[in-house]
């Protein structure tokens, strides 16, 4: 009797909680709506009169192409370097490998412009390598972004690799496969979801990257976020900045949505 009464109240309170619960989610959502959605809507509205002029301009087209070029090159670089580092930490471990993995985690929280700042000393006209021309080329931005975003690829990879049973690598080796074959045919296929996740996040973040480009400040490497800043703050051309912002949002969100969908589909197939 008592037990039945108890379970009855549990059910009742559960239902009540379920009914009213979503109301609690409204205040934080309202906050985001006012502070993010509303401003973005205004940006879109503000941009309307300036579209023709900006889209036609060579400045805009160059920046668009540069942004995509830099983001794609950086992402490829991050994937190569990040995969190599993660494979070594996971499968050819050395004393201190865990410290290195921890260091990688810390780097995620550091500001990206530090890397650009250090490049002034390494590649600057009076620096270690005195590669003056390099610092103003897009390749400096790519190298800086590879440096900074490699940890973003490594983190999901390290997690996925730690879940990969060591016995699979052992068995593959016992069947006569050398390290290269094991890597290509066992490790990489099995961590592919993590590779795709890390790579797409990196692509998104490098498309949006601002600090590195700002600090390197090279003439030939104006990207879209940089152009938003120049137009908005330096030239006070709000409508022009808004147009570029809208294009950038479309690019980022479009890519984000496509990747999430692609990833979601893959995950569904894998499960």
């Amino acid at each position: 009797m008592a037990v039945e009464a108890l379970s009855a109240t549990v059910v009742v309170s559960n239902e009540r909680r379920r009914d009213g619960k979503w109301l609690w989610a409204l205040p934080p959502l309202l906050l985001i709506a006012v502070l993010v959605v509303y401003p973005l809507v205004l940006v879109a509205a503000e941009s309307v009169p300036a579209w023709g002029g900006v889209i036609e301009s060579a400045e805009f087209r160059d920046a668009l192409v540069r942004t995509v070029q830099i983001a794609v090159s950086s992402t490829i670089g991050c994937l190569l370097v990040g995969t190599f580092l993660a494979v070594v930490i996971s499968f050819v471990p050395f004393p201190g490998a865990r410290v290195v993995a921890g260091l990688v985690d810390t780097m995620l929280a550091l500001p990206s412009f530090l890397v650009a700042l250090s490049f002034t000393f390494i590649y600057g006209t009076t620096g270690i390598l005195r590669a003056g021309g390099f610092l103003t080329s897009p390749w400096a931005v790519v190298l800086a972004e590879v440096t900074f975003y490699t940890p973003f690829v490594m983190r999901p990879l390290l997690a996925a690799m730690s879940r990969l049973p060591r016995a699979q690598l052992d068995v593959a080796a016992s069947l006569g496969a050398g390290p290269w074959r094991v890597l290509r045919q066992i490790v990489l296929p099995e961590v592919r979801p993590a590779l795709v996740a890390g790579g797409s996040l990196t692509l998104l973040l490098t498309l949006n990257e601002f600090g590195i480009v700002l600090f390197l400040g090279a003439k030939g490497t104006t990207t879209l976020p940089m152009l938003v800043h120049t137009k908005g703050i330096v030239m006070f051309d709000y409508p022009g900045a808004c147009v570029i912002a809208v294009v950038q949002i479309a690019l980022s969100l479009g890519l984000y949505a496509v990747l999430r969908m692609a990833l979601g589909g893959r995950r569904a197939r894998l499960d």
């Binding site: 004393p95 049973p165 016995a167 699979q168 052992d170 068995v171 593959a172 080796a173 016992s174 069947l175 006569g176 496969a177 050398g178 074959r181 045919q185 066992i186 296929p189 099995e190």
Partner: protein, 349 residues
């Protein structure tokens, strides 16, 4: 000898984290066509011994030979040994046929040969209809067959099986035990090393059993010999769960709790009497004791009894289910037939 281990010792860790000894001075040789079971509780070093043969761990000391060649410093890929691990480690992204083909492709066999050999292997383990499936679509028993087919596809001279039945439930385990016996007849020339903690698997499959404990080899002998006359107390209790009773010499014979056992000859240095639970009989004129617990096991009852005059020792007796079980607490008399008794040395530690 197909496989030979000489004084193989494996230490893990380093000066900072502290060393653990996983295997100490291990000697073993396995002939072609022979099945040797490494039997022991967890942490006894049996899996480490197998990993050393496969090349997954590098011995700190000692040599490993395959068909007379020293392979101690060879990586696993150069040894050509077939390995089946506990959870099978099938490659989840490869279909059954591709799993079996993996080793053949690594050896750059021709396409035709790969196809032929894969078909042959799948046929042997009865998995031909499942060739296009992914491992996750298979049951535990089916996964195990694929793992065996994959290991045998490379035609290894040695097959290592690491607790191959541990991941299966009881009924399936019994079935797969039969399958493994059949498999043994299919590949008569291969040396098999079978690691298990389950004595019934070892007894069913092995020609010889190596009993292991605390990183060391305790006893090794043909299975029947080891069961009938265990050389040590540990082997006696681990293999077949024998009762061990302290004895004191009395003239030529021995006494248990002051009770003379007719016919059993005293042997110096062997202070424990070993007898299997099914060999003890409830009959008049035996060792006096009391029944303290009884468990019904279907075909039999297992009784736990104390012995008058002995503390800390109990005797387990298997009684067929059709016999009447005495009341709990009742006085009983246990007869220990001389042909079922053997003497073993007491534990040294």
């Amino acid at each position: 000898m197909t496989v030979q281990l000489e004084d193989v010792t494996v230490h893990f860790g380093n000066k900072h984290s502290g060393r653990t000894c996983a295997l100490e001075g291990f000697d073993l040789s396995v002939a072609a066509g022979e099945t040797v079971a490494l039997l022991g509780p967890s942490g006894s070093g049996k899996s480490t011994a197998l990993k050393a043969v496969a090349g997954f761990v590098r011995p700190t000391r000692g040599r490993i030979r395959l068909a007379g060649n020293d392979v101690t410093d060879l990586p696993p890929a150069k040894r050509g040994i077939g390995v089946v691990v506990q959870q099978y480690a099938l490659f989840p992204h490869l279909r059954v046929a591709d799993n079996v083909a993996f080793g053949l492709k690594a050896a750059h066999k021709s396409k035709a040969e790969v196809t032929r050999r894969v078909a042959e292997m799948l046929e042997m383990v009865g998995m031909t209809p499942y060739a296009r499936r992914f491992p996750r679509e298979l049951s535990g028993g089916q996964q195990q067959r694929v793992a065996i087919a994959r290991a045998l596809a490379i035609q290894p001279p040695v097959l290592l099986l690491d607790e191959p039945l541990a991941a299966l439930d009881a009924q399936l385990r019994a079935d797969m035990l039969g399958e493994l016996q059949k498999l043994r007849r299919e590949v008569p020339d291969i040396a098999i090393v079978y690691v298990t903690h389950d004595q019934s698997e070892a007894l069913a499959l092995a020609d010889r059993i190596a009993v292991m404990r605390d990183a060391r080899l305790v006893d090794i002998a043909p299975a029947t010999e080891l069961y009938a006359a265990p050389p040590s107390a540990f082997t006696a209790s681990f293999l077949g769960g024998a009762n061990l009773l302290p004895v004191e010499p009395s003239g030529d014979g021995v006494k248990v709790a002051g009770h003379l056992l007719p016919g059993v000859k005293a042997i110096p240095g062997r202070e424990l009497l070993c007898i299997r639970p099914h060999a003890v009989q409830l009959a008049d004129g035996g060792l006096p004791g009391r029944l303290v617990a009884s468990q019904w096991r279907g075909a039999s009852n297992q009784l736990t009894c104390t012995v008058d005059g002995l503390t800390d020792v109990s005797v387990r007796i298997d009684v067929p289910a059709d016999r009447r079980v005495p009341e709990l607490g009742a006085a009983i008399s246990m007869v220990l037939p001389v042909e079922a008794c053997s003497l073993v040395p007491a534990e040294t530690r």
